[in-house]
Amino acid sequence: MTDPAGPLTFQYGTEIDGLRVVHQPPPPGSASFSATYVGPAGWGFDPSGSEGVARLVNQLVTSAAGRFDRVALARHLDRLGATLSRQAAPESGEVTVWGPAAEWERLLGILSDAVLRPRFDPSDIARARRQARERQLREQTQPASRAVVELLRAIFPKGHPYRESGLGNPRSLGRIDRHDMLRFHRTHYSSGGALLVITGAARLGTVERVARRWFRGFDSRSGPVLAVPPVGRPATRERTIDLPGRSQVEVRLGGVSIPRSHPEYPAAFLANEILGGRAMLSRLFQRVREQGGLAYHASSELEAMRYGGHWTAQAGTGPDRWRKVVTMLREEVERLTKTTLPASDLRLIRESAIGQIPLALESTSDAHELAVEAAYHGLPEDYWLKWPAQLRAVGPEDLRHAASVALDARTAVTVLAGPVR
């Protein structure tokens, strides 16, 4: 058996002008390298009137940077055998470079260009704006995305970073100009509070030296802090969006949840796995799909972020079946807190979650995701190594209590989007 400890641990390194370096060894035998910049650049930081700017900037930093315009950058990546990707979330913006391990120093150079020296060429801005507008329209008219949008708007109050999807609105999108993007970039991509997570074979000291060369020029002040207003009980408990002509109704049931740093997170994680997170073993999959035959997909998600979170139980079903599905989703969420989980069920889901760890180490990019998640939440360097012990410490009563805190049906909102009438 391979010793999996290597990529299950990582090391926090020094800070380079406000950019904290984190290093993770790659899985044995890996030939690739991954590095991710994570900055306080999520759409929760969108200034009022410029909603959508964070996602536009996130898209454009991977488009053209430094001496490379868009085509030149793409060709450069092709020649190196690399990819540059990005991800935006309410709290953070990420940029990831992936490619051959032998090219890791040059790959870090590309990442630093993307993060520190994006070009924001006018033609790129115009294209990104058109694409964002189309995504806005699609978000409103596709049942699955519309249901999520409506759920978040029902759960979180105005001004809350988790309330929106970050696409902005037609007015704000039309108003955002290059100047707004440069300003957002300056504040959120090159100031403190950011991480550089590297999964590669070089040692931490070497990685720091190379990172220092490429990422010099950060503003060492502390990074921007997200304003997070308190969340009260939702004003409405049910939202119905009729989208005639569609074939399927998307059902979402959800509410606020706990942050990732919450002491009950491991128990809440398992509660969600039981509800619908561990698809084929989960209660929603078994009841709605396997026993009821009512839906192709039935699952749940627990989104635990830095300042809070939300949970969702979801299914897509026919226009004549959604009532039954809503009842089942609600009953299964309530069952988590009303009845104690049999020890054998808990053991099954727990050992399944623990057994899954090797699958997260199949490749450098898989392992890298573990390090990015742990480092973003400031978790200990051996967090993933100790994760099995944390899960094994959860008892049935712990789970029930965590479910009442993190998956609370009493304040849940139900959203239907699709051909409901």
Partner: protein
């Protein structure tokens, strides 16, 4: 530049007396093992009235076999931390499980049990019927699915490629359990299957285990050849669809060569030139995908100019001649006529003048990139070795790769001329019926 060439891990292939082909690829450091069973059975083997049978069988193979009752297959894999799933294509169906390496025997036992002895009980078929309806309804929510389904129905009148692997709604509603069992027993068996095992194991031990588990299975599985031949297309066929949504969408298809055709490598270069990537050799850490590329011809002509927000091509070589497609999603406010004219102009320009030498060199670089790190991890290894095995053999990947790198600009131009003709061309346009709830 990464080292040139397809870098398959060392693997051993052999065939059991019952016809089962086996590929074993040990990856010494891998913490996981991945088991794939590829059947050369897909929607091409169905007939009108039972369209969607392969996909339905795919579902039923999770619903019970002699040693695994309903739900027990899922439970057996997931309880050890593994993941499992399956997918159905026109040409094949694949089932896979990836588990921590010490649990490799679990998926091997499951696959040997359900390869020829799935129960497909009446009551389970009935219960699955609504789930499959639901899966189809979920897809129908997307205009792109509706357009593509229509495109293939227009393109093919004889050949079974004319229906989607999900099957027609009416057939899903009507098909009987007996028909499904008959289909399964006819085609699913050792003679039509390839077993691929990749990951952390000792090859002799696993060879012995595979032989012990799968050798007792009877040699079954009827010939999966398809005898229907689609006659050459005459003229263009078109369809206009409308429905919910906000953005017009267009997909155009031209008759494309089959796998193994001499024109396939040049068509893959053409696909990369126009669309940005070709599926079998696309870059990235994940599964393959059709991705856009800013230097691709369609991207430059449609996205850079503001006519479309997305524009790609797709060519996936199949057992029989199929379609080379171009698809574009209009920028809000742009009409489909303009979009279609620009697509026509773009493909005609390749047919008239061909690509430049530097464009073809750029495509080669992209193909090299796509091949370079494609085999990281047991799951991806099992997928790729299995995919090329079911198409032909694992060695076929290298043959195809080398052939692609030999393609000249002249060959691309000739292939574009042969491909982009009106005979057999199909066009489907989707016009949204209105503005819905756009805040």
């Amino acid at each position: 530049m990464p080292r040139d060439g397809v870098r398959q891990p060392p693997h051993r292939t052999f065939e059991l007396p019952n016809g089962l082909r086996v590929v074993l690829a040990p990856i010494p450091h891998s913490p996981t093992a991945s088991v794939w069973v590829w059947y050369r059975v897909g929607s091409k083997n169905e007939r009108p009235g039972i369209t969607g049978a392969s996909h339905w069988v795919e579902h039923m193979l999770f619903e019970g076999s002699p040693r695994y009752g309903k739900g027990e297959i899922d439970r057996a894999i997931v309880r050890v931390g593994g993941e499992l799933n399956a997918f159905t294509d026109t040409d094949f169906t694949a089932y896979f499980s990836t588990v921590p390496r010490e649990h490799l025997s679990v998926p091997l036992d499951i696959e040997s049990d359900r390869m020829t002895r799935a129960l497909i009980a009446d009551e389970e078929v009935e219960r699955e019927r609504t789930i499959i309806h639901s899966e189809r309804e979920g897809n129908e929510n997307w205009p792109e699915f509706r357009v593509e389904e229509e495109l293939y129905q227009l393109a093919f009148r004889i050949h079974p490629y004319r229906w989607d692997a999900l099957g027609h709604r009416e057939d899903i509603a009507r098909m009987t359990p007996a028909e499904l069992r008959e289909y399964y027993h006819r085609f699913y068996g050792t003679r039509n299957a390839t077993l691929v095992v990749a990951g952390g194991f000792e090859i002799d031990a696993i060879r012995a285990e595979v032989t012990e588990r799968f050798s007792p299975l009877p040699a079954t599985g009827e010939d999966v050849a398809v005898r229907e031949v689609e006659p050459p297309g005459r003229g263009e066929r078109r369809a206009e669809l409308s429905g919910p949504g906000t953005t017009p969408y267009i997909q155009i298809g031209w008759r494309s060569p089959a796998l193994g055709d001499r024109a396939t490598p040049a068509t893959m270069v053409l696909d990369t030139l126009l669309g940005g990537e070709t599926r079998m050799f696309s870059a990235g850490a994940g599964w393959w995908r059709s991705a856009e590329h800013p230097s691709a011809r369609l991207y430059r002509a449609l996205v850079d100019t503001g006519l479309a927000v997305r524009a790609t091509s797709e060519f996936r070589p199949k057992f029989f001649p199929s379609l080379f497609t171009v698809q574009a999603l209009a920028t809000p406010g742009v009409g489909l006529d303009r979009l279609e004219r620009e697509i026509e102009r773009t493909v005609a320009s390749v047919a008239r003048r061909g690509p430049t030498r530097s464009e073809v060199e750029e495509v080669r670089t992209r193909i090299r990139r796509g091949a370079a790190l494609a085999y990281e991890g047991a799951s991806r290894t099992g997928f790729r070795l299995g995919y090329f095995s079911v198409l032909r053999s694992p060695a076929y990947e290298g043959e195809l790769y080398r052939a692609i790198l030999r393609v000249t600009p002249q060959a691309v131009r000739e292939q574009a001329r042969a491909l982009f003709t009106d005979d057999g061309k199909v066009t489907v346009r989707y016009t949204p019926t209105g503005k819905e709830n756009d805040d």
